[in-house]
């Protein structure tokens, strides 16, 4: 299995009904690991209580590769999070990651920030 690590960090939000998280993905997401690893994000989404909104900044600064299925999971997380009133964004993606996100049209639906600080500002509000 290709190595990948998902680190989920809490972020203090200005709004008490908002649960803000930074999800840092380090390594490569591919066919050998994405089905298993995606479950960590689904658990996070399912942990949100009624009345709460989940805002997530995906820190892709350590992400080296993502395949089409991992992009598919990303769109599914987007649908689930925004469908419940939450927000999602991406930060720090390397050029090759931004390139593949652009070619499949994800950058048209998910905001991408160059820095994590900008992403944090977006999700704590």
């Amino acid at each position: 299995m290709t190595e990948v690590q998902i680190i989920i960090e809490d972020l203090q939000s200005q709004n008490t009904s908002v649960v803000a998280k930074i999800v840092k993905i380090v390594g490569q997401l591919d066919e050998s690991n994405v089905d298993d690893k995606s479950q960590e994000i689904y658990k996070l989404i399912e942990s949100i209580q009624p009345g709460q909104k989940l805002n997530v900044a995906f820190d892709f600064s350590g992400l080296e590769y993502m395949n089409s299925k991992s992009i598919g999971y990303l769109t599914d997380w987007y649908s689930k999070i925004t469908g419940s009133g939450g927000k999602i964004c991406i930060s720090g993606a390397k050029d090759n990651i931004t390139d593949i996100l652009q070619v499949v049209g994800i950058t048209q639906i998910i905001t991408c920030y160059a820095s994590l600080e900008e992403a944090k500002t977006y999700i704590i509000s």
Partner: protein
């Protein structure tokens, strides 16, 4: 691995077991080959990583059973083109013919051209391999499998300007 040097052309074939663990090694190899033997930019080397990864993953999922092997062949012509062939043995449960795969591929291209696809699976060929290649063709093999052939020509201007999306000029 087979290497033939002839007329500035290098042919390398890789036999890969149907184990996703080896995909990262093939991606590394693809990037190294593209950067060192073709003249394509680093950006395109990364793109070829994705093209090979998507084709190999499809071949393993749809054309193989446990213990099978797929064959990936690279034909690199320095400063001209890179041809990638991925061949499965045709033992998968969800086996397609070349014609069926071609029809599905073209249908997805039409669909994705007009709407944002939000599903988890089904992007690889139409949204990644298609825009990052100049030609793609599907062929039935003697063993009942599928051979997918992708060609990308090195266009000096495109390579230097690092355009993000290439519009296909020829389809089969």
């Amino acid at each position: 691995m087979e290497v033939n040097n002839q007329n500035n052309e290098v042919k390398i074939s890789v036999i890969l077991p149907t184990n996703g663990y080896f995909l990262s090694s093939v991606r590394d190899f693809t990037k190294t080959l593209a950067q060192n033997m073709t003249g394509f930019s680093e950006k395109w080397a990364y793109r070829f990583q994705s093209v090979v990864d998507e084709l190999a993953s499809n071949a393993i999922e749809h054309g193989c059973r446990p213990g099978d092997e797929i064959k990936i062949t690279f034909l690199a012509k320095k400063d001209e083109s890179l041809v990638i062939l991925v061949e499965d043995p045709g033992h998968g449960d969800q086996k397609f013919t070349a014609q069926q795969l071609n029809d599905m591929y073209n249908q997805k291209i039409k669909t994705f051209a007009t709407q944002q696809f939000m599903g988890i699976r089904g992007r690889g060929l139409a949204q990644i391999v298609h825009p990052w290649s100049d030609e793609i063709s599907f062929e039935d093999t003697e063993t009942g499998g599928i051979r997918v052939k992708v060609v990308k020509y090195l266009k000096k201007q495109e390579n230097s300007l690092e355009q993000s999306v290439n519009v296909s000029s020829e389809r089969q």
